[in-house]
């Protein structure tokens, strides 16, 4: 369970990047955080992982406050960054996946097992000895997801996971997101490209200029969403259900 209570944050320039944001996402749900560029989506995700701490209000993950239990929160929340290259730490694919479990001080055999399992899950087992910067964009994104999966978090937050990906790349990442959800993870995804994932979402959170302007089931929020700089999926504009990108 993720709960934000009246969260406010500014980067010290007097302008609030988040203001009075409150919502809750129950365990096991897939929630989309949508909003135009600069609406505060990334800032919001960084609060859930504890990379940023709120100036006002509080962020709770499984009842743990990011301010008081930062290490525990980071064990529970895995974060996939927008730019995969920036997140890859290891010099080989398997070393990168092992980075998180090593930080958890797990015994080496367990780390090896988790690395194998995570790479199998994202279909990169055959590239485990390859250097990450030689992977394709979609593969890098899957590698970052594998790195998070190996830590077995309860919550996974993904920042613009579909940006710069082709159709197959989107499908591969989408499958991983759904697999995470199926495994019981709470998943939060930021995007302004709703078409690709909205049909699988349980909840839609809409940010505008740092404020949460709507939260609830996607069907209730999609009409009128374009006034906040987010394109409504073509299907719903025509009154039809959105098709999954996996079909």
């Amino acid at each position: 369970m993720i709960r934000l209570e009246n969260v406010g944050f500014s980067y010290g320039n007097g302008q609030w990047r988040l203001k009075d944001v409150s919502f809750a996402v129950p365990a096991g749900e897939l929630a989309i955080v949508a909003g135009a560029n600069g609406s505060g989506k990334t800032t919001l995700l960084r609060h859930i992982n504890g990379l940023l701490l709120p100036e006002e209000g509080r962020v709770l993950v499984d009842g743990l406050c990011t301010r008081n239990a930062l290490r525990e929160v980071r064990r529970r929340v895995g974060m996939v960054f927008q730019h995969a290259d920036a997140q890859i730490v290891g010099e080989t694919v398997s070393e990168d996946v092992a980075f998180g479990p090593e930080n958890l001080c797990l015994p080496r055999p367990e780390i090896d097992g988790r690395v194998r399992e995570a790479l199998d899950a994202v279909g990169l087992a055959h590239k485990r000895h390859q250097r990450p910067h030689l992977l394709s964009g979609g593969e890098k994104r899957r590698l970052t997801i594998a790195g998070i999966m190996a830590m077995r978090p309860k919550v996974v937050v993904l920042d613009e996971p579909f940006s710069s990906l082709d159709l197959f790349g989107v499908q591969q990442v989408l499958r991983q997101i759904l697999a995470l959800k199926a495994s019981g993870c709470t998943v939060l995804v930021t995007t302004h490209d709703l078409d690709k994932i909205i049909t699988h979402a349980d909840r839609l959170l809409l940010l505008h200029e740092g404020r949460l302007v709507a939260a609830g089931p996607p069907d209730h929020i999609l009409p009128g969403i374009e006034q906040f700089g987010v394109r409504e999926p073509d299907a719903t504009r025509c009154g039809m259900p959105v098709r999954s990108w996996l079909n």
Binding site: F81, Q87, V89, E91, T92, G100, N103, H129
Partner: protein
């Protein structure tokens, strides 16, 4: 995509790949010492051994050629410097510059030694996982007081990780400049500035994001460390390197 093979690990399951990194490092030191101290008569067998080692490890010969190109200028410089600076009978003369027979011989021997060391170094890099290399750095630094060995090892790892990224960023900046018509300009301070400044800014931003990503994945100094192991193969490798070193000293 930027690919610097010089820093590249080639996955394999050979004897050298499986060797514990600490012992492998010790063997490398002994073999390098053997090459540096070997008399010309011993260089033949040593070279034959190095070629056998390279082919036995099934490392691609083409790759070695590619790596060698990067060093060619350096080797040529070493050879030329020796050829003209060693006193002896002049063989060729251009004005004040005299190439001596002794210089050519010494230069040739020096280049040969450097080539051998290069082969050994590449064998070490190609058969050692970067994580093991990092672990070896940590292990070596541990006895030194006031040196945070884990931080240092992580820095080494990140440096290795960042080299291809930086290379790629420089290439991208150059391409972006060329796309905007900057290709025809002669090398100038302005051109250097237009490449260096954006690259530095992107590198700093990338480093900043990387540190955030490490924090997000729970980075801490106390982490699971690499496993070291010592078995008969390590003793055998060390004994072989020792025999080669003593042998070259005797010959």
């Amino acid at each position: 995509m930027a690919e610097l093979n010089l820093f590249g690990y080639c996955h394999g399951r050979t004897f050298a790949h499986r060797l514990d990194v600490r012992w492998k490092l010790a063997c490398l030191l002994m073999l390098t010492s053997a090459v540096m101290t070997a008399k010309p008569a011993a260089m033949g067998p040593l070279s034959f051994g190095a070629i056998l080692l390279w082919t036995g490890l099934r490392l691609p010969l083409k790759r070695f050629g590619r790596e060698l190109l990067a060093f060619l200028l350096f080797l040529m410089f070493v050879f030329s410097a020796r050829a003209v600076s060693t006193p002896g009978d002049p063989w060729l003369s251009w004005g004040l510059v005299h190439v001596t027979r002794d210089g050519v011989r010494e230069g040739g021997q020096m280049v040969w030694r450097l080539l051998m060391i290069l082969v050994l170094g590449l064998v070490f890099i190609a058969t050692t996982r970067p994580a093991d290399l990092k672990a070896a750095v940590q292990w070596l630094l541990r006895p030194i007081p006031l040196v945070p060995e884990q931080k240092a090892a992580t820095m080494v790892g990140l440096l290795v990780r960042f080299i291809p990224v930086l290379h790629q960023q420089i290439q991208e900046t150059q391409s972006a400049l060329a796309a905007r018509g900057a290709v025809a300009r002669r090398p100038s301070l302005r051109k250097i500035r237009t490449i260096v400044l954006p690259t530095m800014r992107r590198a700093v931003l990338a480093a900043d994001q990387l540190s955030l990503a490490m924090m997000a994945r729970g980075y801490q100094e106390r982490r699971t460390e690499a496993d070291f192991y010592t078995g008969w193969s390590e003793y055998l490798a060390l004994a072989s390197a020792g025999v080669i070193l003593v042998g070259t000293l005797i010959i």
